[in-house]
């Protein structure tokens, strides 16, 4: 008897400043990996660009980042862009974004399969990220402990490693992550690919070619709107990252919204 697979949606949060082929590779690698476990059926992928209020240096307007992601994903039949997070008035915690999408996915799913069908497995939403993401949990003030617990305990992570980073080490060095290691899926990227949005922006500032690192349509958009110059990189230069400010002020709330 064939085991039934859990329907799975992968959510990637980030700056996408700009989106690159490497971002899209993450989805492909993650899907292949989760399928190969035999337990999951990846039914969708969501790219959720962060809002402008994140305050990261060099972040160009969300409307551009969303437009570029849309262009890049035009040819994909399973990954889409979602602007909800980018349109929120303030920076949104990752966990809050996940809760929003999970509610949406559950509603859609219940509508399509019907409430009465108990034999179907409930869909899951996991956060897709690179190995460097795990290290951010260590940065003081960037994450609330209860959020990290909800993220890895309740939702789960699909973490794609690249280059020299060892995600297993980051898990090992954190009691919280270690406790939830069964819900952290490690995907090895054997093709060493250090293409990063930072490098792409650097090349663009210097008038160098970025062809074949991102889709032609995105490159065209960038040139059309003259994004990514020396000036754009100076945006938010002295600003403090919004999560550090917001979370320093807030008392820890309960898990209920």
């Amino acid at each position: 008897m064939a085991a039934r697979r859990v329907p799975l949606v992968l959510l990637a949060c980030g700056s996408f400043n700009p989106i690159t082929n490497q971002h899209m590779r993450l989805f492909e690698l993650a899907r292949d990996h989760m399928h190969s476990t035999g337990q999951y059926q990846v039914v969708g992928g969501i790219v959720s660009p962060v809002s402008d209020s994140y305050g990261k240096q060099g972040l160009v307007l969300a409307k551009h980042r969303v437009a570029m992601a849309e262009l890049a994903l035009q040819s994909s039949n399973w990954v889409t862009v979602d602007e909800w997070e980018s349109q929120q008035p303030d920076w949104t915690e990752t966990v809050v974004t996940m809760r929003y999408h999970y509610r949406r996915i559950l509603k859609e799913y219940e509508r399509s399969v019907g409430m009465h069908n108990n034999s179907n497995l409930s869909p899951q939403l996991k956060l897709l990220c690179g190995a460097d993401f795990l290290d951010t949990f260590k940065i003081p003030g960037l994450w609330r402990d209860d959020h990290v617990e909800e993220l890895v305990g309740h939702f789960g992570l699909v973490c794609v490693s690249r280059g020299e980073l060892q995600p297993e080490r980051a898990v090992h060095e954190s009691d919280l992550l270690s406790y939830r290691r069964h819900n952290i899926f490690h995907v090895r990227e054997w093709v060493k690919n250090e293409t990063s949005a930072t490098e792409v922006r650097r090349a663009l500032r210097r008038g160098l070619s970025v062809k074949y690192l991102l889709p032609d349509s995105v490159i065209e958009y960038i040139h059309q709107h003259n994004l990514y110059t020396e000036d754009s990189e100076m945006r938010n230069k002295s600003a403090v990252l919004r999560p550090l400010v917001k979370q320093a002020q807030e008392p820890v709330k309960s898990l209920d919204d």
Binding site: E28, K192, E194, K211, L213
Partner: protein, 268 residues
């Protein structure tokens, strides 16, 4: 104002292109940026020359497919194109001969632009020993990765005079990663060191290791190769069912053509 002329450059990449990946295409972009940054060159064309089937490399699929995939991959480029001459030759052709062929073609076409008399041009093309005068303002350079540069050191892989011709008369543009040291390799070879001025090392700061070997492996295992090569190339591969365990076994017990040719032969 100092008058220094800009040398026009055509980049030629030889290789299996089995299949062509985004990394291959990136090499051209990186090379062009590097050369033009020196202020001495203007890169006017890029040529991809897939090797013929007679090369007998393990896993090498038919040239007709590799040519078509390369053509699809270069469709979105306005300066890089594919050339079938090498792959259509019945025997394996030494790289130096491919360079020579393309350089002669280049000179002939430039000559054509200079000459008003087309009959003279036609006559010139028919002559076997076509020794056009080398031009200072036009160069053909071989574009390659550090692995090709280092293959100069593999016994019986290259004839010394061929290496001399490529780096001496023409030029080499070598794309290298942070972990290899081409300067040391050049330093350790008298021949390469002699022509070091014609060897341009382009540092690839952002490692992009999309090897065709890895791509073939992923395809065999049914894994996604999306965003590693052009969508049109992936589509072609699926359509024709290329790259299976069987295709990877092609030439498994055959000796690579250059090794066959040079082993035991005295250098002439």
């Amino acid at each position: 104002m100092e008058g220094h002329s800009i040398t026009k450059v055509v980049l030629l990449a030889c290789g299996s292109f089995n299949p062509i990946t985004n990394m291959h295409m990136r090499m051209f972009e990186l090379a062009r940026d590097h050369l033009e940054d020196t202020g001495q060159y203007k890169v006017v064309r890029g040529i991809i020359s897939p090797v013929g089937d007679a090369y007998k490399k393990k896993g090498l699929i038919e040239a007709c497919h590799r040519l078509e995939m390369t053509r699809l991959a270069t469709e979105s480029s306005d300066w890089v194109m594919v050339d079938s001459w090498e792959s259509l030759q019945p025997e394996w052709v030494e790289t130096a001969k491919v360079v020579r062929h393309h350089y002669e073609e280049l000179l002939a076409s430039e000559q054509n632009i200079d000459d008003v008399d087309t009959i003279k041009y036609a006559k010139k093309r028919r002559i076997e020993e076509n020794h056009h005068k080398d031009r200072d303002d036009l160069q053909l350079m071989l574009l390659c990765g550090a692995d090709v540069l280092e293959s100069f050191g593999i016994p019986n892989m290259w004839k010394q005079e061929d290496i001399a011709e490529i780096v001496g008369r023409h030029g080499l543009v070598c794309i290298t990663r942070s972990n290899s040291d081409p300067h040391k390799f050049i330093h350790q070879s008298d021949l390469l060191w002699k022509y070091r001025k014609n060897i341009h090392i382009v540092r690839e700061w952002v490692t992009n290791d999309i090897s065709a070997t890895h791509v073939r492996r992923s395809l065999r295992r049914g894994q996604s190769v999306r965003y590693l090569l052009a969508d049109s190339v992936i589509h072609y591969i699926k359509e024709h069912g290329l790259y299976s365990s069987e295709s990877e076994q092609k030439n498994a017990d055959v000796v690579l053509a250059p090794l066959q040719r040079y082993t035991g032969a005295s250098s002439s």
